[in-house]
Every structure is written in C-alpha cells, then in structure tokens.
C-alpha cells in the first residue's frame, strides 16, 4: 500500500527504496534526484494571486497529492508544471529537463490528464489513443501494442471501436486518463480525475493509479477528496489560496496539527461517578457528556477504550454503541485554514 510508506526525508527515503529494489547496486547520485522539481512558482491573474510561491518535488515512484478546495490554485500549478502555462516566476524541472511552454523539450516524460475531458467525441477510444500516440512520436506498432494494454487497464477493451460520444461519463474519464498513460510517462499528472464519476468507476480509477505508481511511475494527483489523497498519496501538499500551507505524509500532517481521537459512547444510566475517573486516565484530554452519550477526546482513542468502559460499568451505567473517530485531513485542513475542504 502506497500510503503505508513511512515519513521520508527525500533522499533517505528514496535511497532506502532503491537499495531495497536493486540490492547490491551502487546508487549514483543522479538516480536519487527527484523526478520533478518545481521551485518558487508564482502566477497572477489580474488581481488574483492564483499560485503564490509553490515549490514541490516528487521522487520516481512517489505519489504526491495536492489537496485543496475549489480555486485553491491546483490546476494553475499543474499547468505550469506540465508546460502549458508560463509562470510569472519560478522553474520546473522534470527528469532533468527544464520545462518551458515555448519548448517541446522534456514533454515525453510527462503524461497529463486534464481536469476537463480532452478527447475527440467523434473518434473511438482506440482512435483517440492512436492519435495521441503519434503526437508522442510512437511508431504505429508500438502505439497499437500500448493502446491494447491501456484499453485493458482502463477497462474499455470491449468498447474500443465505439465513438466516445456514446460513452458514459465515467468511461470518458477513464479514456481521458488512458491517454495520459499511453506513452508510459515517468510522471503522470492527474487533475481531479474522479470528479463526477460513480463510485464504481472511481474505485477502478483509484486502483489503476495505485497499480501504476506501484510500477515506478511518479504521480502528481490533485483532488479535493481527502479520502483519495489519504488512500493514494505517499505525500500530500495542502494548498489553499495559492500557497502550500503544509506538506507531509497523512500521519505527519495529522500529528503536526495535534488533533485527538474522538470516542463517543452511548450510555444509559448515570455517568457522573465515572466521568471523573475517566478524566484521570493519562492520555485522555477531555471527557464530557452529551444527551445519552459520553464524548472522550484522547491521543489514542482505541487504546484507552477498555479503561473508559470499565469506569462506566463500575459506575453503574450500561454501554450502547461505540464510535471512534480519528482525525483526518479534513480536520487538518480545517485547523490550518479555518475552512472546510468542501463547501
């Protein structure tokens, strides 16, 4: 699981992984260089500073998530990284090549999946793939072979000959992703690929992204769904109003914010006697009552659960349903920006 990758200083993390994958190889320093390096990107539209000093780096095989609400600047940042938008200042390097809008250099390293569909509705999935394969300089034979593979991955092999205008929204999205994968880029950029997709297609998309990053592809993934970021991403940058306000693994981000688990236990009978004892448990930050329930905030909710229940039962209360809520990126985001991730 990508998400279980431990916290990582950039170099040590990739060193470790490289050594694991290729035991006995001498690691040349170039191998350790990040695949993507974006440094101090700025972009202003009239009065709006859409991207305000964004820097990020992504290692080969790493999945980096940009998590932020609508209008945070995700697409703008990504467009600069993909070479579609000239930054006001700052530089982007992908696979050792500086990416500039006026040059085609380094583009073959990047696969872009734009937020809005970018496919021909009057061509079939296969034709769309063959079309873009040629633009990436693939030979007919390579293109055909890769198109077959990609059609399998995105689950459209049996509808390949149909015009995409006849596809469902989810199928179109999958093709939109497939075109980004076609030339086996070293960096795959996915801009909110699951928006407007039913849960089943969405899951298929997430699974293919997991499989691809497992295959060594670096992925830059933007979303405003925190579950997706948590599930897919090795590292997450939280972006708001054009700035990356925090960056790290899910665990790092949560611990950085210092939020606690919330344990809610439904009870009948008196809890007055128990509540004092519960507050005395070390690690419990706070305990309070709601109607027919007690709410305990603790650093590790499940560990303290047996003790809490014991006190309640000793105090003569009967315990009903129990709910442990861990802090999530939503809470982190709220904490950092004072805003909800999804309005």
């Amino acid at each position: 699981m990508p998400c279980s990758v431990p916290s990582r200083g950039r170099t040590s993390g990739s060193d470790g992984r490289m050594a694991e994958r290729f035991p006995g190889t001498i690691i040349v320093s170039a191998v350790n260089d990040p695949l993507v390096e974006a440094a101090h990107l700025y972009k202003r539209f009239d009065k709006l500073q859409a991207v305000d000093d964004v820097s990020l780096s992504i290692d080969p095989g790493e999945t980096y998530g940009l998590l932020g609400p609508n209008g945070a600047g995700k697409t703008t940042a990504i467009s600069m990284i993909a070479g579609l938008l000239e930054p006001d200042s700052g530089t982007v390097t992908v696979a050792g090549t500086q990416i500039k809008p006026r040059s085609t250099q380094g583009r073959e390293a990047i696969g872009l999946v734009p937020q809005d569909l970018a496919i021909y509705p009057d061509l079939s999935a296969e034709e769309n793939l063959m079309f873009f394969a040629s633009l990436y300089g693939m030979s007919k034979r390579d293109a055909r072979a890769r198109a077959d593979e990609v059609l399998e991955v995105i689950g459209l092999a049996d509808r390949r000959k149909e015009r995409t205008s006849k596809y469902s929204g989810g199928m179109k999205r999958r093709l939109n992703i497939g075109i980004g994968l076609l030339h086996s880029p070293r960096l795959l950029i996915l801009d909110e690929p699951t928006v407007g997709v039913d849960p089943q297609s969405r899951n298929a998309i997430l699974e293919s992204v997991e499989a691809l990053s497992g295959g060594g592809m670096a992925v830059l993934y933007t979303t405003h769904y925190m579950e997706e970021a948590e599930r897919l991403c090795d590292r997450i940058g939280i972006i708001d109003s054009g700035r990356v306000v925090a960056e790290g693994t899910t665990e790092q981000l949560i611990s950085r914010v210092g939020e606690n688990d919330r344990v809610r236990i439904e009870v009948t009978g008196s809890v007055d006697a128990a509540i004092g004892h519960i507050r005395d448990i070390s690690g419990v930050v706070e305990a309070s009552t709601e109607d027919h329930a007690i709410v305990v905030m603790a650093d590790d909710g499940s560990r303290h659960l047996p003790a809490v229940i014991n006190h309640l039962v000793d105090g003569g209360a009967q315990v009903g349903s129990i709910e442990v809520t861990r802090p999530d990126l939503e809470a982190v985001f709220l904490h950092l920006t004072g805003k909800a991730l999804r309005e």
Partner: protein, 393 residues
Amino acid sequence: MTRNGRAHVAPKVWTMARYNLVRMFRERINLFFVFIFPVLIIAVLGVQFGEDNAPEVGVAGTGEFVDDAAERLEETGSVEVRRTGVSELEDLVAEDTVTVGVVAPDDASQMLRDDGGVQLRMLLSSTDEAAQIEGVVTRAFESAAVVPSVIGQLRAASGAESGEVAEVVGRTAEALPDIEIERVLPGGEDAEQSFGFEQIAAGMLLLMTFLNTLTGAAALIQSRTYGVSRRMLASPTSVWTIVLGEGAGRWFVGLFQAVYIIVVSAVLFGVEWGDLVSVIVLITVFALVAAGAAMLVGALMHNDEQAAGVTVMIGLGLGALGGTMLPLELFSSTMRAVAHATPHSWALEAFTEVGRRGGTIVDILPQLGVLLAFAVVFLGLAAWRLRVTLTRA
C-alpha cells in the same frame, strides 16, 4: 524544437490531417460538400458556358434564298436558327421561345430573280433581345438577297441568258474581298476572350476553394473547445506543427476539389486551363493560403458557429475584391490596387498567364512567391495566436 521533435513533424502533421478528415467525413453532410458540390459547380459552369444559349431565330420558308440566309445567320455565331412552318413559328414567337421569326414566301428566290425584290415578314417576340437580333437577321437576309436580285436585274437589263448571268454574278460575288473585324478593348485585351469561360471558371474555382478550405477554422475551434488542442500542446508537439496538422486536412480537401473541377471541366467542356503542372502547383499554393487563413480565423474566434458566418463573409468578400466574380479589367485602377491585397487576384493573374498566354510555371513564379508569402504570414499569425490562446488559462 528538439531534433527529435523536428524529425516527427511530418508524421504528426499527417496523423492530424488524417484524423481531421476521418472526423470530417463522419459528418455525412460533408460528403456532399466534398464530392457532390464540385459536380454541381461543374454542372453550373457547363450550363452557363458548355451549351450554346444564343437566342433562337425561327425561319419559315424554303428555297435557295432562304437556305442561304439561314446559313449566314448561323455563321454569325450570335443566334441559333430553327427551320419551321409558318403557324408553328407564330406560336413559338408568341410564347417567346423564339426571339425573332422570319416568314419568307416559298418562291422568294424566284421573285428576287424576276422582280429584284421580295417581301419578308418579321415576327418579333417580347424579349429584350428581339430588338438587338433584328438587325443581325435583317443583314443576313439582305446579303442573301444580293446575288439573286443582281442576277434578276442584270438579266432584265442585258437580256442575256439566265444561266450565263448567274455564273458571272456568282463568280463576282466570290471574288469580293472578305472583311474581318477584330474587336479590341483598352489595354490591348482581346474582347472576345476577356469574358471568356476560362476566366470565369478560374474565378469560380478560386472562390470555391477558398471558401471550402476556410471551413477548417470551425474544425480548429472544435479541437480547442474539446480541450484536445491544449492536450496536443502538452505533448512534444510544437504549436507550428499543430497549426500545420490542423490545416492540412482541409488543404487536401480544397486541393482535391480544385483538381477535380479542373480535370472534369477540361474533359467535359474543353476548358483550356493551360499547363496542368503549373495549374496544380498554383492551386496547391492557393489552397495553402486558404488553409492558413482558416487556421488564423480558427485561432482568433471562440465559437464555431460564429466562425462559420465569418468565414463565409471573408470568403465571399476577398473573392469579390480579388476579382473572382467580376473581371479585374472592369475595376477602377484604385480598386485594382486594392484587389492586389487579396490572394485571389494574384492567383487569377497566374491563371490568366497559364491559361490564356500559355505560360508555364516559370512565368508564374512571382505570383506563386506572393501567394507563398500570404500562406506563411497567415500560418505564422495563426501559430502565434493559438499559442497565446492555449497557454493563457
């Protein structure tokens, strides 16, 4: 552009052109425009010029004199003669099918010889042409009457034998000098040819090729609104390659139609386009100019329906200004100068050079150069504009 990128330009342009055409023909109506429409144009040209639509003159009556007059009428080339009976002729003139009718007595030849005169009845239709034709018809019958009436007069005066007189007069008539008249317009142009089929056909061809190729603008706008153009730009493909690729499909179509019209009209109606190689090179370059204009419009406009209207206006406007509808000879000198701002006028000039003066490709190099410059400027502006549009958001 990388060396690698440059090496891939041709296959990329070809791919874009190919899929552009695939997409174009999935729209069934475009089959009509590409394959049927040129046939219609040829048919229109054919009706207008291939078939003689000169006014008809009906002639009722028989005999040597009437035959001779009818033949003289035919030889003027400005009318067609229909031989018919009197009552039928009256009907035909009454319904304006026949512009002018002439009724001659059956013994007209005899009367001319005997009395030196004959009475003809002329029936005029209500068409405007009747008055113009009247003179032509009168002259034809007057000249036909000369020989028989001179024979009649001479025989009466000399008392000589009729066969002998006829022979002398016939020989004298043949010995008379032929007078040929060549009409000339100011500027030394040949009046017969300046409104000729070739020029009108060339004008129509240019007008149509330009208009049809301009529809490529809408295709580019579609690619843009589908987000595909931007995605192309994210690939290792330069904006120049995109402009060339998007334009190439319609360029082929325009070229195909033009060559088709040239060949078919030459074969069916004997239109003389001149040296085929020169003409095809000319059309190729001209269609490239049109494709460049299409890309420029496609890069400038935001909505394909709006673009469709604009392209028709531009196509017709430049066509009219460039002399594809009215010959440039009829333009004032100022307007002729203005016309040279259009690619059409240069192409027309080249067509005239090749078609009428028997020029070859060397003779039209200046015009080809100007046209190529038009194409490069249009394509360059389109590439610049497309980059701005695609990399702004």
